[in-house]
Symmetry: C2
Subunit: 287 residues, 2 copies
């Protein structure tokens, strides 16, 4: 923890949390707020904290097996190339796959469209003891839907309150929600799109539509600002994560996850059987 104390002079729970007055206009996409180290320090710390995160995750999993009801949900949002996939691979990849329930939300299928927009979200919620990860989420229903006017303003306009109420119910049921917006700058996005085009092994990640979407950048930022303004209650605030430096974003999400699990005061479940009696049975079998 010594190394960590040195590197994080302020917790990302404090520095990255969206509060009243937060404005994307003033956001430093390449910043490393609260962190004094460099990329190398960040990578070392990621590994150390990953081990810690993995230990905490196992305790959460054990609690779920022992009739616990708590779970964690990590919501990832961000523009194309912001690094959502990298978070899954490099952060969630540090914990036991048994304990992770990952779900990517793409363009809704016909069946999904025939239901309320929260229907497919609810189906993908993590079960007790699990860390759920949403790569995109119900927030698309007030982001891409708003930007492209896929439904009228009076329809999406009601969704902010509805989402807050829905999330509160999940929290009441025992799910901690961590909402991370990976904030990449338009300049960095262009670099990343360009890299994808330069490498044949990255072509599958490229979609010409991604360039079209850049044309709506300002509208997207306005939609993100509305999400931040209207959906950051104390129980489930947004964290705006500078994402131009991938190592920082990964380290920050790891820290947010670890701190959330720490705050749950997880303990190994007590035996629901007589330990000595079972030890005696094992001893008898040894003879």
């Amino acid at each position: 923890m010594g190394k960590q104390d040195k590197a994080w002079h302020q917790s990302p729970h404090e520095t990255l949390r969206v509060r009243d007055g937060f404005s994307i206009t003033d956001f430093d996409f390449a910043g490393t707020p609260g962190f004094t180290g460099d990329k190398k320090d960040g990578k070392h710390l990621l590994k150390a904290r990953g081990t810690h995160l993995s230990d905490l995750q196992e305790q959460l999993f054990a609690e779920g097996r022992a009739d616990g009801t708590r779970s964690v949900l990590l919501v990832l949002q961000g523009m194309d190339t912001a690094g959502k996939g990298g978070i899954v691979r490099h952060v969630l990849g540090m914990v036991d796959p048994q304990g992770v329930q990952h779900h990517s939300f793409g363009v809704p299928t016909q069946k999904e469209r025939s239901h309320h927009y929260l229907w497919r979200i609810e189906k993908a919620l993590p079960s007790a003891g699990k860390i759920g990860v949403f790569d995109r989420s119900h927030y698309e229903d007030v982001l891409v839907v708003r930007v492209h006017e896929l439904v009228p303003p009076d329809v999406w306009g009601k969704r902010y309150d509805e989402i807050n109420a829905w999330e509160q119910r999940r929290i009441d049921e025992g799910t901690r929600i961590i909402k991370c917006a990976l904030m990449v700058s338009p300049q960095e996005q262009l670099e990343r799109l360009s890299q994808r085009l330069d490498r044949p092994d990255k072509h599958w990640k490229f979609n010409p539509g991604d360039i079209d979407e850049r044309g709506y950048w300002d509208a997207y930022m306005e939609a993100y600002q509305a999400v931040f303004d209207r959906c950051s209650p104390d129980a489930a605030p947004w964290y705006a994560i500078p994402a131009d430096r991938k190592w920082f974003a990964r380290m920050a999400v790891t820290e947010l996850l670890a701190a959330t699990l720490e705050a749950m005061n997880l303990e190994w479940p007590a035996a629901d059987f007589d330990v000595d009696a079972q030890k005696a049975r094992v001893s008898a079998l040894r003879k």
Copy 2:
């Protein structure tokens, strides 16, 4: 590959595969067939092959995104403490969680029992581009079900052929099936149960019923032998994996997975757009 060639003098696809004449009675639960190295060599190799496996998995994932239909299904069976969970954590934990669909099959729920026994299995099949992992599987319906006579013999007796036919359909649809039986000895199981009792952080993994089940060891081995004898067609053979040495079992499953993916001749999907035209769009945006 030099190190690997030295360590594996014979592929686990050959040495561990269940063939005609295989008998559990002669099985060496602590063996390391085909491998000349020790635990340290094994751990090094696991890491190296894990990186390779992770690369292959990304190609499989990319293929799935590009309208591919192929997938991989790893079926894990084994007595309690055989190390199924450890395979998930230490082998599948080496690849991107986005590409893994993990499912544990416990005692069927009331809803599951109201359906055909393959119903819940079918629902959990990996989608295109994914590696599915079954921690226990449809084979429980001819293992625990047979041992405890949960259904009459004429009912479970028909299941072997039914399972073969069902698996063949999955293979025809593009799923490679790797069936791994983690074979732990009764002596080693007792050690592991004892360790779980000694450590309060492992109590949640202990179930007094596990000791009761030991009483049916021979019946289980008979049921496993029947599974091996009747459900090892060339297209989806069983691999009997010595599991008394955890490091060996993990390394062997990694190797089986990697070799399976290698044999799929995966390639990065070709761009379905005009790469030069898109590069020109990006260049124009740079100005």
